[in-house]
Amino acid sequence: MAEQFEPKIAVLCCNWCTYAGADLAGTSRMKYAPNVRLIRTMCSGRIDPSFVMTALKDGADGVLIAGCHPADCHYINGNHKTMRRFPVLHTMLAQFGIERDRVRLEWISASEGDRFVEVANEMTETVRKLGPLDWKSRTAAGNVA
Amino acid sequence: MRDFPSPLIEVSEMIADSGGSSLDLCYQCGTCSGTCPWNLVRDFRVRNIISLAQLGLEGYEGEDLWLCATCNACVDRCPRGVEIVDVIRSVRTIITQAGTSPKTLGAVLGSVKANGNPWSGDSNARLAWAEALQARPFTERSEYAFFACCTQAYDARNVKVGRAALKLLKAAGVNFGMLDGAEKCCGDAVRKAGGQELFDELSDSNIEMLDAKGVKKMIVGSPHCLNTFAKEYPDKGGRYEVVHMASLLAELIKSRKLRPTRTFDGGKVVYHDPCYLGRQNQVYDAPRELLKAVPGLELLEFARNRQDSVCCGGGGGRLWMETPIEERLAVLKLKEAVKMGATTLATACPYCVSMFEDAKTALDLDSFRVADVTEIIADAVEEVRPS
């Protein structure tokens, strides 16, 4: 049997909700796919669209942007900016030819360890089905002498 | 030295593997036993079966195992989320595979296997009940297929309900067609009675037939068919939109495609919630709306109704098993109905109709009427009622 594809998922998340939610999943010893790697920022509002694009370009197969629920931001409303940027970033990435399911925005609070697990697993499975993104080789300059 | 029982964890695991995996969540509070309606008429300790099954101790396979009518009351109330009916089903499956299930059930499963129905009816005559009504066969232009429950197709009492249904559907101009008689029992009772393999055969055969015809939407008269098609067939790859007659009739009356105009002459009516329609599929209001739409009909309620409704005792294969009169839930309920002044008991399930007709006979209540809501509506709609 062919070895199954293990997607690489980047999680760009805030310190207070999603990172803490992932911590809670840990302290509760919940189990999830080892494909995700968290990159912590203080607020999801810190997540520059270029981070998402860099991750995809570098070799991530999927990116999860995650932060506090819209009304629960540790920084009052930093996550509102994330919420506003996401739809247009999502559309633009689709224009580039990146499947919509590869990039996802989720609100996961510090108490939602289970939700983190669910999303991490879902994301891994969805992206596994989509296959490798392999951006660099799929966009490499080809027929140049 | 005495023979100490010791846990057989393999047995417990086997039960878990055949669908009873929530078994281990039980913390032995006894809510299930206390909730189970059987305890109104006899002792039945659901918890005990779960407890024995957790440890694989002998006794879980005892006679009590076959009592459960799969009414789901305990599952709704279980504080731990144990799918008790699944555990019971799983144990029954194991026993059935070992060939030690009760004889009466064996005969029923045998008939289903041979004839495609539990009533030893001729499989070629499945549509005989509807012939006189000249309903059109299902074509790709039909919106719905009418799937008749075996009981409505073969049981003399319930055939009347099926006929009333067809008349109403025609009167309302519903775009439906009859299946060609190749359909088989949906398999609900078969599965609940432990015939998992047979259920798989039935569902595979039905799905193949329905898909070949291009059926997308189905009308059913039995809540058991409703539940099985809606909740169990999808796992087997069969996905259909299923609607029960009571829900459909409520819609037709709301959209004024049917007008119940004749005044009801059957006295006070008490509605009995079929477990598979109510608790299992949350259809509580539609049948009540139907009855309330009938002019002159006074609707009564059992003390325990809707999600707390007491089962008729006919599900999970019980319809075909013998129950002493003093232990029949339908008898108990009918007494309650009479006591509150009802002269008609309405319900919406062929099993319930059968169980209550039997209870009526047992109690010698000649003037009392047991009816499916479909029949009551058919009586009330001018175009349908034979003059």
Binding site: R37, D72 | Y27
Partner: protein, 658 residues
């Protein structure tokens, strides 16, 4: 120190077997040694222990490290510990970075190979970031020497008294018109059976009279702004229509008022007047006018109360007032609610009139309650038998999954009180008896001696549908006596539901106002379940009592005192460190587009008119970094989370080798 020659040290923690059991720590350390700029890597059993921290300090000196990485637990747990260790070796604490290989790795994965690979990745990411770390200066601000306590139940009162006695000012805000909370509703307390009011009222009075406590009853928090040490709180003081400075609390107005409304304090079991005191021993004792019940507000007539008020205390034009308070710390002690007893519908609450809740029984049994302390059914008769049903809604996945902790004990207390006052047979239907506190098991034993009947089985339903003559006119409980394996029907005259404690209905709102998290059960989330039980995710905001989870009076009081001590230690310290990792503007790149000004949640960004560029007020900036992500000119740098650092992490994790 120069940024261009990083010397990175990596320390991999075993955390006993917590990490080492899944992650091959040797491989992680070995891999770290091959990473760019890493000059030293080692692993150790417990990095957070003293020897572990010493290891870091020694290695910094020995290997001239200028960046430190500890791969261990969550930075939310031990980042401060290792920053301190780093600082002790003379290195700026912000040159420390943590890799979370426990919560995010060993605890959540089972495949050892994959977990080790991930741990190496996480270290790689930390190393990549560390290379670009820059030293930051810690800053301190003064702490406002005043504490806000929200909720005047026993937890809030205890905290207020402890803090006030320590010499610090307290503002105690209570939504009701009197402090006292739930405890004021109770009759006796288990297991000692002291009278609840007798032990609570002196404390209430003490709080009201304490020179360091300002009581704000009939008041609610509107808004909380600021940060640890410097909160600004806006409090709505609801209109009472009575001038508290003039009113003598004589109570004549209450007597004369002809209008009535349902008493919430009496759990709806009796009526109170439109001008009323919450309960006779209310503190403060000054009544308030219930605008909804008072006819004057409806048709402009009546004012019967005012006619008899000698001091002329009525102020019909009274309005809600907003007051602002500056405080250094906040204790949230907003208490609990009870599950709607109608939700588990099988017990017939609301349909069967002699099915009552525990808190209703407290009032019935209370000498000041609706029956003057007589235990009677709704028909006014003494019950011959009473059933107390445990775990109504609690320990139940259909409602509240958790154990409410106090019900077993108050059920025992009720049983005792019924036995004491009536001849009734008392049944307890229970799943497990949880008598964990001091003197609790002994109390259980006492109840067994008193002849209370214990049936081990959860009540399945309550009905009035008799099957036998003996059941006629009774409430019948259906349950299995699981120890016997027999299903029973027990006829009784009164059923008391021990219904679950739940979070307050507005808990979500309150949590948001104060920046507190909530656990899946809906109660407020403490910072650490064991080691920081009264702290929250927001520095300077603490928890006390049942808003954090179900608990009995001793635990509630203890937590009130604990919250007081933590708040006091903050006040005593006098200063707090504030965010060093703020945002900064690169003047040369800023074009003054002002876009950043809109996105800053703290209005920390201003506009320097002369230079026509943005300017960040570091004392207002909390370091969220939203402006840095927004700035279209890349002219704002989020310190400690700058583009270079984060992109380095991304490259380290995802860029192909070479």
């Amino acid at each position: 120190m120069k940024n261009d020659d990083p010397r990175i040290g990596v320390f991999v923690c075993h955390c006993g077997t917590n990490i080492a059991g899944i992650v091959n720590v040797d491989s992680v350390a070995a891999a770290a040694r091959t990473m760019p700029f890493v000059v030293h890597a080692e692993e150790y059993k417990f990095m957070c222990s003293d020897p572990g921290q010493a290891l870091v300090r020694d290695a910094i000196l020995k290997h001239r490290l200028n960046r430190v990485i500890v791969a261990a637990c969550s930075p939310r747990m031990h980042e401060p510990t290792f920053r301190k260790a780093t600082a002790l070796a003379g290195l700026n604490p912000y040159l420390f970075e943590m890799a979370n290989i426990r919560e995010h790795c060993s605890w959540v994965h089972t495949d050892k190979v994959a977990a080790t690979e991930k741990a190496i990745d996480l270290v790689k990411s930390a190393v990549a970031k560390a290379r670009y770390l820059e030293p930051l200066e810690s800053r301190y601000v003064n702490v406002e020497p005043k504490v806000l306590i929200v909720g005047g139940g026993v937890a809030g009162i205890q905290a207020a008294l402890d803090i006030a006695n320590g010499g610090t000012k307290v503002v105690l805000v209570e939504r009701q018109q009197s402090i006292g909370g739930r405890m004021a509703q109770l009759d006796k307390t288990f297991p000692t059976l002291d009278c609840s009011a007798c032990i609570l009222t002196p404390k209430m009075v003490q709080a009201a009279q304490h020179p360091n406590i300002e009581l704000m009853t009939y008041s609610e928090i509107e808004e909380v702004k600021g940060y640890v040490g410097n909160f600004t709180v806006r409090i709505r003081r609801k209109a009472t229509f009575i001038d508290p400075k003039v009113c003598t609390a004589c109570g004549v107005c209450i007597d004369k008022c002809p209008w009535k409304a349902t008493s919430s304090f009496e759990e709806g079991l009796s009526k109170r007047k439109a001008v009323y005191r919450l309960f006779p021993q209310a503190v403060p004792g000054i009544p308030v006018v219930d605008k909804d019940a008072c006819k004057y507000f409806e048709n402009g007539k009546c004012k019967a109360c005012e006619k008899f008020c000698e001091p002329h205390a009525f102020r019909w034009d009274d309005q809600d007032k907003i007051v602002e308070e500056k405080v250094g710390a906040i204790i949230v002690a907003t208490g609990y609610d009870l599950i709607d007893p109608k939700l588990p519908s099988q017990y017939g609450y609301g349909k069967l009139k002699n099915v009552i809740t525990g808190i209703e029984f407290e009032r019935i049994n209370n000498a000041t309650g609706p029956t003057a302390g007589k235990i009677v059914t709704k028909e006014g008769k003494e019950p011959e038998s009473v059933a107390i049903l445990h775990c109504i809604g609690s320990r139940d996945r259909n409602h509240c999954e958790y154990c409410s902790r106090v019900c077993c004990m108050y059920a025992l207390k009720f049983a005792h009180l019924i036995k004491e006052k009536t001849k009734a047979t008392v049944y307890n239907f229970y799943i497990d008896m949880r008598c964990f506190g001091k003197g609790y098991e002994e109390f259980y034993h006492r109840l067994l001696e008193e002849g209370v009947k214990f049936i081990r089985g959860k009540a399945a339903y309550v009905t009035d549908q008799a099957l036998t003559d003996a059941e006629q006119g009774k409430l019948i409980i259906s349950a299995e006596a699981t120890t016997l394996g027999k299903t029973l029907r027990v006829p009784v005259d009164m059923v008391i539901l021990a219904n679950a404690m739940t979070p307050q209905k507005d808990a979500a709102d309150v949590a948001r106002k104060f920046g507190i998290g909530r656990s899946p059960d809906g109660f407020f989330l403490e910072k650490h379940p064991k080691l920081e039980p009264v702290s929250t995710a927001t520095d300077g905001v603490y928890l006390a009592g049942t808003c954090q989870g179900p608990k009995d009076i001793p635990d509630t009081v203890a937590q009130g005192a604990a919250a007081a001590s933590v708040a006091m230690s903050l006040i005593q310290r006098g200063t707090v460190e504030v965010e060093a990792a703020t945002a900064g503007v690169i003047d040369d790149l800023c074009s003054g587009c002002k876009i950043c000004q809109d996105v800053c949640p703290y209005s920390a960004i201003g506009y320097e008119v002369d230079k026509r560029i943005a300017e960040i007020n570091a004392s207002l900036c909390k370091g969220c970094g939203t402006c840095a992500a927004t700035c279209p000119s890349s002219a704002i740098v989020a310190k400690h989370f700058n583009d270079q650092q984060i992109l380095a992490q991304i490259h380290a994790l995802y860029a192909q080798e070479g």
